[in-house]
Amino acid sequence: MTPVIRLHELRFRWCAQGPDILAIDALEVSAGERLFVEGPSGSGKSTLLGLLAGVNLPQQGRIEVLRQPLDQLSPAVRDRFRADHIGYIFQLFNLIPYLGIIDNVTLPARFSHRRRQRALARSPSLTAEAQRLLAHLDLDQPGLLRQPVSELSIGQQQRVAAARALLGSPELLIADEPTSSLDTDRRRAFIELLFAECAEMGSTLVFVSHDPSLEGLFDRTLRLPELNRAVHHQSAPMQRSASEPVVAPELTAPSAAATATRATAATVAAPGMPAEQSEQQPPRP
């Protein structure tokens, strides 16, 4: 099966003269996979997600999503590609404050004809499809849908955000620490709802978190500090300046990387691993 995501010799830095933020030699994610990307802040998680979503471009290397070479597409085509194929969930404040719940959920259909068509293939109207998704995510209490989004609890907001990301069945779902503001019980429930929907839609899920307790729920775990060689390269000079009173967020990376290395699972695609090898994934459940 062709991978949904394929990274090759990827290098990214924010400005031309700056240090590499992300350096990944190879990464592949296959269709329908539920990938857990774990790493402390500063390990390049958000940058990786920006690259996968086609918002940022690598300076070197290749990035393919759904067999589209994102690094070779024009900005407009990448925006269109994201609208059509990617659902994105932020850590917090996912909703447009001036739109109602239903309008928030149906928002992707305003930017993508394809997702509109796919949503309408499932339900007679966009509103009906939004309600169907919300009901699956346990948001079908009467009266709730008329509330302004600002009056929802954080957990409810994240579920509305999930419904929006799922509308029109995008092939790839990217979640950037969506559970970090939920308590433990709700965290698990939210992830299970997300899994069920992804399975129904046939979507691939890339889930980023710094919370290692969640990784058992996923098919595969990726430890970004191990995969991202930029972090390793930086660690040496950073360590030397660690006595300085001001601690940059990057400074937390090396120590976290060390713990991550200790807990390395068999499923992790180790840095520098050749592409052929990383293709040998464990069979999905």
Partner: protein, 419 residues
């Protein structure tokens, strides 16, 4: 289109600030349009006051001043024309008709105009429209008066009512010709000109009420009662101005020169159209200043919008990131902000136009009574549309500034939200 709907929803969410911004734009647009409309209506109204008259003749002063007091009853004559000179002008070749005008008295603030019945025959306004009596007839008796429409409605006079004329043009006058009251015999149709605000009597009547007033006030022991005055010689000694109509327009300049060079008395003859354009060149400066000031007020309104949008943008970085994650292009983010500016400007203009028309409709009776101006209540005309288009274009340009900022933010920040 989807973006414009989003812009509308975003504005509705911030309805309080949006409403304030909209209101400031609406008020400034109403001011701009109001100035423009009053300007054009005033010009049209001035141009419509007199037609068919080839020359206005008066004592030597300035052309604008002569026209202002003779036709528009604004200001006072500095000097009079002798009856002798009037007779000679009337007898000049090519002169088809003359209308003598004698001003200086008033009735409760309305000017009293002494004239002959030639006034009703030859005075024309608008597009060559003659004066029409809606009630009664022209003055025949010495103490008859014909009222303009506004005088009659505002003071509630009917045919047969008695009125007393006051000496001097002021609203409040201490010297009144109380011994010689006038009877209302006719009321003129509304014209939208100063005629509506005039009380018309005969030249002889003006002469009669001033018998014994040679010193400017009644002299004790010299009072002449109304009946005795009838038997005296009431030929006027002087008049204020003359409206002259000619057989052929070609003769206008020759006659004008002849009157201006009149050896017996310093006289001035002006062409109404020339005097009017001279007036515009004087007033034009003030008009333009007013228009420029109101244009700046519109600019201030739009800068208020700029401030509101720019401040709002700081709190909307998260929203921009969400839109980007949904596949919105940076140009669509630009479009969202410009769309908000456009909606605010358009709604502001709409409110402003409605506001102006409402104000004009409410103020119409008062303005017409005070100034004799008829304000058009219609939709904007071509020049006004051009002004409005300029406002929209400026609004779009102003919206470009926060729009460009949002564009930069969404390009550089991408999905990362740096608060």
């Amino acid at each position: 289109m989807a973006i414009l709907r989003l812009a509308l929803q975003s504005l509705l969410n911030r309805r309080f600030t949006a409403l304030l911004t909209l209101l400031s734009i609406a008020l400034s647009v109403a001011l701009l349009l109001g100035v423009e409309r009053i300007r054009t209506e005033a010009r049209a109204s001035f141009a419509n006051t007199l037609s068919g008259t080839d020359l206005i003749v008066g004592a030597r002063s300035g052309p604008v001043q002569l026209m202002l007091y003779a036709v528009f009853r604004i200001g006072n004559a500095t000097n009079n024309i002798s009856w002798q000179s009037y007779q000679e002008i009337a007898a000049m070749p090519r002169v088809a008709w003359t209308v003598p005008i004698s001003l200086g008295d008033s009735h409760r603030g309305f000017p009293v105009l002494g004239t002959s019945s030639a006034y009703f025959d030859h005075y024309r306004y608008g597009r060559n429209k003659p004066l029409v009596l809606v009630k009664g007839e022209r003055f025949a008796d010495l103490y008859d008066a014909v009222l303009g429409a506004e005088v009659a409605t505002q003071l509630g006079y009917r045919l047969g009512d008695e009125i007393v004329i006051a000496h001097g043009a002021g609203d409040v006058s201490f010297a009144r010709h109380e011994d010689k009251p006038f009877r209302v015999v006719g009321i003129l149709e509304r014209t939208g000109t100063p005629v509506d605000r005039s009380v018309h009597v005969s030249l002889e009547a003006i002469e009669a009420i001033h018998l014994g007033w040679e010193g400017g006030a009644p002299m004790r022991g010299l009072e002449i009662d109304a009946e005795r005055a009838r038997r005296m010689d009431l030929t006027p000694k002087a008049i204020t101005a003359v409206l002259v109509g000619l057989d052929s327009r070609i003769a206008t300049f020759a006659l004008q020169r002849r009157i201006n060079d009149y050896p017996q008395e310093p006289l001035l003859a002006v062409l109404p159209g020339v005097a009017l354009s001279e007036l515009w060149s004087v007033i034009g400066l003030a008009e333009h200043a007013l228009l420029v000031v109101s244009a700046f007020v519109v600019l201030v309104g739009l800068i208020g919008m700029l401030t509101a949008l720019l401040i709002g943008l700081e709190g909307r970085r998260r929203e921009l990131a969400i839109l980007r994650s949904l596949g919105a292009r940076p140009t669509q983010v630009l479009g969202l902000i410009i769309g908000e500016a456009l909606l605010l400007t358009l709604l502001g203009i709409l409110t402003g136009v409605v506001l102006l028309i409402t104000l004009f409709a409410l103020g119409q009776p008062l303005i017409e009574a005070r100034l004799g101006l008829q304000l058009g209540l219609g939709l904007p005309k071509l020049r006004e549309w051009l002004l409005l288009a300029a406002v929209v274009a400026t609004g779009l340009l102003v919206g470009l500034i926060p729009g460009w900022r949002a564009y930069r933010i969404s390009l550089s920040n991408g999905l990362a939200v740096r608060l």
